[in-house]
Subunit: 611 residues, 2 copies
């Protein structure tokens, strides 16, 4: 056996490996988190670790993805490295991120009508004159005839007698799901979860007061199998083990969040009776352990979109015995319950004005409509806005440039106020908007040569242009000021990748507008949901032409509207009903295979304003 020492965690670990183990797989198998956005395919270059000892030689792909400096420091990509003898692996910050988490959404007013109900009963003891069975004694206190399962009936005689017939009945949908000794009506909790591709946020709600007790966010550890949903599906379709891997990862995160919540707020987990989650359709399937194979391939068919109630313990979610898990409905394979939750929060379905909801990401969901009609589509933007496919692209974590302004010089704002490592989505959009406005790139996306630039372009920018073969670059942060000792740049190639992304989104919006026969001026509001919503400057998105504009349009981020929708749903049965109506009301347009979409896409890739 080969010895592997892991350093860089709270405590060092000593593990055993086999000769020729792949290093990334080995780390994942041992529950060590490493970024692997591309799913370990040697594409994203994120799974950086520092290795000493006997490993395979540096591969050509690694030379492409790692800087000379990094290679000299002994940094390797775990996915391309094979263990060949005893080694020491140092986990470094570049390969492991504390994510910046977005979890506040615009919330609708409180509507408290939880599915779980608790009633305290002081019952009479049985006598020869009143021989009602234990269950009849309870059931006759209610107007409806309750159902009850064997697990409860098993314990019922002892609970009743030990509690001297003073008990609390927990009900859900005409079913008794708990008989608790004494009066526990004040302790009735539920969980709302927003299962993001990157981040999972859990909210603990008090179902008697409607108050949020607390929230905890964690990275979605499915990222071990790829940063985007499709990479994960590609792992999941490798038989049942693959599916189990992904379900296991997300359930672990959910259980960790539950443990943190109950520890922090001193809640008994047996008093949490329900969990409602939202997420995109793939996350939904992976969490439930359902086959997502057909979601990923044409004609893109999910197993189920309608909400079902699932026993929490069936999923391995560690709550009380009869706790249940449900979810809001999905609209289609690429418009999931997170979007429905967003609609439940923003209630576009009740608006007389036309509104546009966009959730920018690898799969960008777009909904356009009002009380009369709502239509939706999904634009396959690719991961450029999330930092992948961009040389210095990264998630919105510490060290990422999140905003750029060009005045006399190039000013940047870095998350965590530290030396820059790269640039995240909101940074890219603000950078492009500035480059366009200052005439450093043109509407076709071309980075101008110094010669082509106006005199108004500051000299510092001109000095930052470097030519690298066909790939002209702009240095954003020079080597001395950058975190990793090498300059952070944006290249012509990066910009082309972003153009593809923005072209897809813009074309999607245009198709919806043409379907409804409306123009930009008819839209009253553009609502930006999800990760970007609260971070990008709406004006930047308008400048690069990804979002429509008119004098009347208000553009606003709505934060984590998905989380807010999930919270509304755990608090209110009525809200779940509305969510279902919304999901049924939204017409989904499949863009793939549509010629009009192809045409729009081709003509949308320039940075022309969207009017």
């Amino acid at each position: 056996m080969i010895e592997v020492k892991i350093i860089g965690l709270e405590e060092d670990l000593n593990l055993k490996a086999e000769f020729s183990d792949n290093l990334l797989s080995f780390l994942q198998k041992n529950d060590i988190e490493v970024d692997a956005n591309c799913g370990g395919n040697g594409v994203c270059g994120k799974c950086k670790v520092k290795v000493k000892g006997e490993v395979s030689d540096v591969k050509i792909k690694e030379r492409d993805l790692l800087s000379k400096l990094e290679l000299e420091r002994g940094i390797r990509l775990a996915c391309l490295t094979t263990i060949e003898g005893d080694i020491e692996v140092e986990l470094i910050s570049e390969g492991r991120s504390t994510l910046r988490i977005l979890d506040e959404g615009d919330e609708d007013e409180l509507h408290l009508e939880p599915l779980i109900q608790k009633d305290y009963l002081e019952l009479e003891e049985p006598t020869l004159e009143d021989q009602a069975s234990d269950w009849t004694r309870i059931n006759r206190e209610f107007d409806e005839e309750l159902k009850v399962n064997l697990d409860i009936l098993n314990k019922l005689p002892d609970i009743l007698r030990n509690a001297e017939y003073n008990i609390t009945v927990v009900r859900r949908n005409g079913q008794a799901i708990g008989i608790e000794p004494s009066d526990t009506t004040d302790f009735n909790y539920g969980l709302a979860f927003d299962i993001g591709t990157t981040t999972v946020v859990g909210y603990l709600l008090d179902l008697t007061t409607g108050e949020q007790v607390g929230k905890v966010a964690m990275a979605n550890r499915q990222s071990d199998y790829g940063s985007d949903a499709i990479s994960r599906v590609n792992h999941a379709i490798q038989g049942e083990t693959g599916r189990n891997d992904l379900q296991d990862r997300i359930i672990k995160v959910i259980n960790q969040i539950i443990v943190e919540l109950i520890d922090k707020y001193q809640i008994e987990k047996e008093r949490i009776y329900e969990l409602v989650f939202v997420g995109n359709t793939i996350m939904n399937h992976l969490l439930l352990g359902l086959k997502a194979d057909n979601v990923a391939k044409s004609p893109y068919v999910s197993v189920i979109n309608e909400p079902q109630m699932v026993p929490a313990n069936k999923l391995g979610i560690d709550l009380g015995q009869n706790a249940s898990v449900t979810y809001l409905p999905n609209v289609a394979s690429y418009v999931g319950s997170d979007i429905v939750a967003g609609l439940l929060t923003t209630r576009i379905d009740q608006s007389s004005d036309l509104k546009l909801l966009v959730d920018l990401g690898t799969n960008s969901e777009i909904v356009l409509g009002n009380q009369d009609r709502m239509i939706a589509c999904a634009a396959a933007a690719g991961p450029a806005f999330e930092g992948a496919e961009i040389e210095f692209g990264m998630n919105g974590v510490e060290g990422a440039i999140e905003e750029v302004r060009i005045n006399d010089e190039l000013e940047i704002s870095v998350i965590g106020n530290q030396p820059a490592k790269g640039i995240c989505g909101s940074g890219i959009i603000s950078l492009l908007a500035e480059l366009l406005k200052k005439g450093i790139i043109n509407k076709t996306g071309k980075v101008l040569s110094v010669e082509e630039m106006d005199d108004s372009v500051p000299q510092v920018i001109k000095d930052a242009i470097i030519e690298e073969g066909n790939n002209r670059k702009i240095i954003l942060v020079n080597a001395k000021e950058a975190a990793n000792g090498e300059p952070v740049t944006i290249s012509q190639k990066d910009i082309r990748a972003i153009q593809l992304a923005q072209g897809a989104i813009k074309a999607g919006i245009k198709i919806l507008m043409s379907e409804l026969g409306v123009e930009s001026k008819d839209i009253s509001e553009v609502l930006i949901a999800g990760g970007f919503g609260n971070y990008i400057q709406p004006q930047d998105a308008v400048t690069i032409g990804v979002l429509p504009t008119s004098p009347e349009i208000k553009i606003k981020g709505i934060g984590n509207a998905a989380g807010s929708g999930a919270k509304a749903a755990i608090l209110s049965q009525e809200k779940r009903k509305i969510a279902k109506e919304i999901a049924e009301k939204v017409d989904y347009l499949e863009l793939s295979g549509r010629q009009d979409f192809q045409n729009e896409f081709m003509s949308s890739m320039s940075f022309e304003k969207f009017e």
Copy 2:
């Protein structure tokens, strides 16, 4: 380890025992059936085995319960025998019985409206124009919104595609419980079970035609822990293991019956979707694994009487994945769903005439009423009518005297037409009726001395009287003609035990009559359910005064009305609803602690006619 060789089964067995193992427990642990009506308490003397080798000395109790002849042959009572070295145990017919089984009841006309419904669907394949999820594709074919569980959803994508979208949906109560490839609508089966204390009968029903495919009966192997329900409860209340023992025994019998039925009739067990059982309240609790402790002690409270639906696999019943088990309602702790099933078969609740239903046994259930009102009680008759507490008493199995007539001589009829081993309930009742009529015993139950007898008593009877201390006996079969080489007798002591039993039943009936303010002449029919119903001669029961009589009363056995009720319930939801209404309509009178019952009991013990 000690070697134990078991002979007398189809194949000999070689087992290992520990020093000082109790022989009965050892046999039961190894799934070897031995009669043990008293639950292994050294009282009933039924657990006879022939033993060679090192075992404990013969105990005094064994000397009381075994004949000299038996002791000489090496016969021992397993419950009183301890293993002390290598032994050979021969299983002999006296300790193991093939039961005579009663399973036909008067059946109401067929009412076919099964809970389980099957629909064959030929669905369109999904396209980009119709991306409905797999589940929506199915669900939209139905008017109601079906629920579905994860297990089905898990397999759904493959089933749909492999079956080229031609599938059969199995529904129960608005829930899809199966998606089957191709058209399986012709294969829809259900099971009805009558769980008797002695015998379990399983009926396989075709739910599309309503036909009975077949039936299988087996002994209730809970008899390992006592022949009567209370002995079994006494074992069950010894913690969870005791409860598991009893549940395990009955589930094993059910599974054996299922295997026999599906083998014999070539049915796939996955096409059996539901099982409905009836039984007394204790059988109900033991089968469900519920605590029966409080059923057995005052104020006699069951855990539940209302039917619930339980997953078959939760109970260990080996059917398809989503098969369910339910039961008809119980009225009270001592009037169970078997009686409700009997009422469902006889529909006393719809009768304008007053009817009396009695189910004679250790616990004798009695229902009196008509469409206006039904009242019920349970009389603790003790096991005399079932052969226990009677020296030569036995169950209605081969070798039991089942009828006696006294003309010039004493004529007997033996089950299986073989030498008599003892006498069963119907034999006892006909014997007593004959003894009374011929003046061999008087109304007080006293066996007259030869001197006291009339001249009309045949000499053969007078010759059969023997005096054994205070216990005068009548020889029914002499030693030469009896199976075991010793005479079969009935004694004064035996008759006293039967008087207690009949007194309790008669008093119970009288209390109900007085509660309704009616007399014998007001009763139109007496219906005798259960084991006795079809075997006793009604006139004998009238002669000994246990059942009321009048010129108008018709007395008839209704066979296994409980089984018929269970069959009606598996075939029809409507019948289940009626069963529930019946159970709610019956008023239960608790006899224990009632002074009027005590008084009636004291005055009912004589063999006076019940007029």
